[in-house]
Amino acid sequence: MIKNYFKVAVRNLWKNKGYSLLNILGLAIGLATCMLILIYVRNDLSFDRYNKNFGRIYRVDSDINFGGTHMVLAVAPDPLGPTLKRDYPEVEQYVRFHDLGGIMVKRGDENISETKVIYVDSTLFDVFSLPMVEGNPSTALVSPHTVVITESIALKYFNTVHALGKTMIFNGSEPYRVTGVIRDIPDQSHFHFDFFLPMSQDNQSRGNIWLSNNFNTYILLRTGTDPASLASHFNEMINRYVGPQVQQAIHTSLADLKTKGNYIRYSLMPLGRIHLYSNKVGEFEPNGSIEFVYIFSVIALFILLIACVNFMNLSTARSSLRAREVGIRKVLGSMRKALIIQFLTESILVTAASLVLAIGLAFLLMPYFNQLSQRHLRLGLFTDPWVIPGLILLMVLVGGVAGSYPAFYLSGFRPIQVLKGKLAAGFRRSNLRNTLVVFQFFISIVLIIGTIVIDSQMNFIRHKKLGFDRDHVLIINNCYPLNDNARVFKTEVLHMSGVKDATMTGYLPTSGNRNDNSFFKSPSLEQTGAIQMQTWSIDEDYIPTLGMGIDAGRNFSRQFPSDSTGVILNQAAVKLLGWTDPVNKRLYTLKEMGSQDQIVYHVVGVVRDFNFNSLRQEITPMGLFLGKDNGSLAIRINTDDISGLIGRVEQKWKELAPSQPFSYEFMDDDFNKIYQADERTGKIFISFAIFAILIACLGLFGLTVYAGQLRIKEISIRKTLGASILSILSLLSLDFLKLILIAFLVASPVAWWAMNKWLQGFAYHIGLSWGIFLSAGILAVLIALLTVSVQVIRVAGSNPVNALRSE
């Protein structure tokens, strides 16, 4: 019996090639995009799962509110890890990571800059599952001047993975022995370091300072431990260890601090949540976000639903053509069940064809998608045991869902009615079909609004006035190796033609160093006048070079020697301090943590607020101090011969710092990097939204084809009575326009709610204007009209005699 159904299905599909193509293609595009999204989402959800102890690893995060500044950190104090292991038996092991910036690694005659370098405790391999190709995991990171590297690095420097025992030269002269080679860290990891240096070499790791948070600290809990029960002890730990150090530093008890709203809290972040839920200060890499996992999953579902709805609509719209067959089969003795099975078989067959096409499409699209998403995703058809059963399940599900409505609808026909040809009238009055069309437009309009909002917000970020001028600024990275020659380098560069200004500092608004410290309004260091702010070390040329504005007072100047204890605050700092006339006011701070010596600064000026974080965050208080930081040289240029200028700067660099790598970038590129992730996800969203709209259009097109076919007699009669093509166009379009209007009314509030929620993630964002909604509505109408009219003009233009004669 199945063979018979199969034959009929195949012949039917073949006979109506246009319809089949529309149906299969629409479904295939839907399935392909859906597959890509699912692979992306699955990839996002499987981060860090390569660890055998995945479920037992937690990162200890700090949450500090002090002096009006709230800090949510992915880092903790250096003694925290060892203390947890010592005091709490449920903690099986800990491992700390401490960033050491970059190193220079010698290869032959050149020094190569490496940035994926980290100090790590020797317990690394007890906690994380990083398989070692060569070396002994338990001793590899114990002694100083040893290093564990990844296979790629071994290949890069030694042309072989067998690098155990070999020596590497760091920073020009320091020899390090390779004590271990590990496999490259999987893509789906929240950190990707190439060089692991022993913590024993890092003096800060033994500082026992509870008031400074610099260590990413991970703990491995014993099997069966409830993390909440461990976390409940954190308060007593803070009282025991942090309290005395606070008392010593600022002569205030922890309890006193608390009464003024200050606090220190530690919390446990499960490893599995880091990639998608954690966006704190001190993360190793920008993480993903669960919002986008949700958004993408919903889009995948939407696309699939739209494709299914297409299928259902097209099948039922065509029902008049199949109705006769249903009637005959019933008279020949077919039971309803047999017919339902027949139509389900057909729809699963179509789905199977679509699926094969979709797999091909997904293969073709994968490189573009990877480029778009900056991932290394693979279809994994045969490597991943989950894929094939998943796809078969998807096929049966989609085939079943999409086929069920036509199956039940068609099989319910009464034979005498269909054999008498009384069915066509049913088309226009099908409430379910109208509902489905409304649903499709609802999704399309929501996606169009989403696309417009995301695009406008991205545009807004790109063109937002940031309080500094990021165009035409060339940055020479990592000038530390210049040492004493740094000033010479700056002076020489300033003398070059095409250079307008230059400033030397590691603290740039777009990237680079960040540092914050506490300041007080009075020498008694009272909490009420305290402020936690960014503390940046700059030179006198900083503000003019970067085109920042002075709001009050003046810039640093070489004419005032006392500027060495001067500070320029930003407006946010002034506001928090509550000063109306800030110039010449004083600020007090401790020389270093734990000491009694104070430094007094006087305010020389106020700089207009400028953004130095992503626009997702508000501008926080900041103080600029005069210092000698050789982090990088930022050059404002006013020449068209940029490459010539870079050549001359590089020449100078080579004279002053031979065999040190020269690297540069442009500030606007640097700025764009901050938004790469947002921009990327935005682009992915927009691409998929366009796909979804495209599929919806395919469906609408198919639907008009059949609406036209069914009403061809009516149209023909109207034409013989003298109707114009335009009036027929409006007659047929009106049906759809009504549906679009309903869809628009439902979609607008939903889209408003969703996009408003998304925009809340940005401290600086566009407003949701009526214009956006209106243009989305107009766009939807235009798309629909265009789709409908192509078909209607064809029907309306045909000779009415042909249609009327067939009766």
Partner: protein
């Protein structure tokens, strides 16, 4: 074989009953060949559909092979029809996507006949109607007369005891029509199949042994063919 008592069929139109059939009383014995005649709208087709159990009367008693059809549930009724009744239509109603062989085979599939038996039975039927050479053609490749032959072959394949034909020659030219009517006479005479046909043509009606004349939903008179 068939017993209709006081069969009426109406449609409610704006609160009034619009009668298609009114108090029809008819009995047909096994082996008879009955023609139903009447002008358009007299209820011939409705009567035939009720006899074929693909339409239900609004009221009345309907017995088929001694069973009370009017008391049956739809599924039971369908099964009874499936086992005993074959249908021939004016518009042939072949399935366009199936070829001649497959069209004839379809009822057997619904009767759950095994594949090997089906083959033998369809081959027999093709032979009997002398359309073996056409078995791989699709309906669109056949003339009207040939299509109707296939339609009849399909109606007979499951060996029904009753053959119902709704203007079987309506779409055919007179020569083809005559051939079909000769075939009916042979089926009735030699194979003993009970036949009830609806027809417009006086001439075709005479092939039946009884002619029922319908007018405005009522049996006007009955004549001998």
């Amino acid at each position: 074989m068939i017993e209709l008592n006081n069969i009426s069929k109406w449609y409610a139109v704006g609160g009034n009953k619009n009668y298609v059939l009114r108090d029809v009383k008819l009995s047909v014995k096994e082996g008879e060949f009955v023609s139903i005649m009447g002008p358009s709208g007299s209820g011939k087709s409705t009567l035939l559909h009720i006899l074929g159990m693909i339409d239900e009367p609004s009221e009345g008693y309907h017995y088929f092979l001694g069973e009370a059809v009017h008391l049956m549930k739809e599924k039971q009724r369908s099964n009874l029809a499936k086992e005993n009744i074959g249908f021939v239509f004016q518009a042939y109603h072949l399935i366009d996507e199936l070829n001649v062989y497959e069209n004839i085979e379809t009822p057997l599939i619904y009767h759950n006949v095994k594949s090997s038996e089906r083959k033998a039975m369809v081959a027999d039927m093709l032979d009997r109607f002398q359309i073996v050479g056409k078995k791989d053609l699709f309906p669109s490749q056949l003339s009207g007369g040939q299509q109707q032959l296939v339609g009849i072959a399909r109606a007979l394949i499951a060996s029904p005891r009753l053959l119902l034909a709704d203007e079987p020659t309506g779409n055919l030219n007179s020569r083809q029509g005559e051939e079909i009517m000769e075939l009916f006479r042979k089926l009735n005479g030699q194979d003993g199949v009970t036949i009830i046909q609806v027809t417009h043509s006086e001439k075709n009606a005479t092939y039946g042994k009884r002619v029922i004349h319908l007018l405005d939903g009522k049996i006007e008179k009955e004549t001998q063919g």
